[in-house]
Amino acid sequence: MIKVRKSIHPSATDTWESIAARALAATPLDEGVASLQSWNLHVFSRAPAVPGSPRAGNPILPSDLIFVEPPLLAQ
């Protein structure tokens, strides 16, 4: 079996913080958030949802794949 980078499907209300709290529970929250953002530049670099929308300020989309571990080369 090839090694596959671990990822999750976010729930409708997930944020960086809620994913970090769940997937990186042993890591301090701000560190976990920073790690998630650095492992998911495809999401972090995206403009967040516009003000006034139900997802305002949140760049994470419900269809995203969110990596919860670093790139394989970094492991």
Partner: protein, 556 residues
Amino acid sequence: MDIVIRNGSIVDGSGRPAYIGDIGISAGRIHQVGHVSAQGATEIDATGKTVSPGFIDPHTHFDAQLLWDGAAKPAIEHGVTTIVPGNCSLSLAPLKAADRMKLVGMFNQIEEMPLVAFEQGVTWNWETFDEFVSRIQQDLTINVAPLVGHSVLRLWVMGQAATERTATATETAEMQSLLRQCLDAGAIGLSTSFVDMDEKLQPVPSRYADHAELDALCAVLAEYNRILQVVHEFYDIDLTIGRIDQLAELSLTHKITTTLSPLFINRGDFEGVDRVIARIVEQNAAGARVWPQVQTRPIDISFSFAVPSLLFIRLRGWYRVMRFGTPATIMAAFQDEAQRQQLVQEATSMMPLWSTLILRQVQTEANQQYVGKTLAEIAELRGTDALNAMIDLSLEESLDAHFISADMGHNDDDKVGSMLRHPHVMIGASDGGAHILSFSTYGDTGYLLGHFVRDKQLLSMEEAIKKITSDTADIWAIPDRGLLKSGYIADITIFDANTIDRGPEYYVQDVPGDGHRYVRDAIGVETVIIGGAVAYDHLLGYSDEHRGQVIGAPQR
């Protein structure tokens, strides 16, 4: 017999070796293969020619074109007899009148279909999928196996909220019901997108769906044994593998076929591509059905400053000027010294790319001397740099200077050839009918049979034909097509294996509203039969026969 094809080299789509024989056609179907003693009302001498099933193109965006051109020109000339439109979450039905302009905007943004083509080429006289099928069936020469787009289902059910949030349980159930109606009316499956942006550069509606919504729609696909197509984050290997695992889960849960496209094979990342294929093989060995689509042609992009090119999508300032500007405002942006300076600054890091671009077309006599030269060469002659040369030429030509970035990737013959041959890879992803101002999406099958089969000998003719006929028909559950076999529908392509190819790319004005597009003529394709009638002959052109069908739709 209506038609008898005699003495051709029959490559029947099964992968078995070619043989010399005749084919008799009667009442739209293949009646006899081998020796045919009866005379045909039409006799076609195929001596020295190859006779194969008509080619099936599984990834196209001919949706709009079918409304003014039921032959999807020039697909048939290239031997294609069946196309699959509606990919990447976008179809033209079901579509409420109130959402028409939203969808037009998305087609314009994502598939680069000019707005004026919709204005002048489309009479909006449908809303439901069934009505759309009836509309295109009126004048159909090519066969159409349409997907229904996930973004469109969301728009119908959720309206504006489709681009804001996940669906409620009630809305998901409504989408399931709507999908059933579309499948009943002839949709061959569902398409979704994980990457596309709409006309406001916001994510398309399907990207606001969570996995549970997609899972619920796949449950409906299972009721009909239909396929799920996705466009994924093809620029990233780990994300691609993640999507393969997601599709495998959906496939195993619902016992459905899934496909993702495109899979590009670029130098510098062969190892990544090998990991993708290894994961596909593992998941399929576990019982899933996940088919990556690989295109045959290398990547190149042509552009002028008049339309927003894919090439500028990472340069936000440039892209916004082109995406939301008129020719006058685009000109003004580059004529304004301060704004030009900002734009130049933004694009300077890509100087190596600009230097390699080739000027392919201008209008003025004065600049004809530069056509065919790279921007680096032109810059040297003009005493500037490549980026400023590109801007100056565009201004001098009132934006009608055309450049090409040639051979950008997917161009290692041995590696691409090995992928095209791979038993777990589907040949597809042509994008036929899309990106019409960036590149020609026609002729991929000629390139496969000319370049990879004849010239490079990386596949046998029998393998290649099987890949673009019976394999595609099997994967997409298209019945009675893809083989030269008694009882099958007579969709047949006759070509010269010694010459088949794609012709050079050129710019033509044949889009409604005096619009342009890049096309390629076919080389070596002699006769194309669809539904038992000659649809195209290389000497006579298109016939008046309209035997195309919407596959899966009740026949009217």
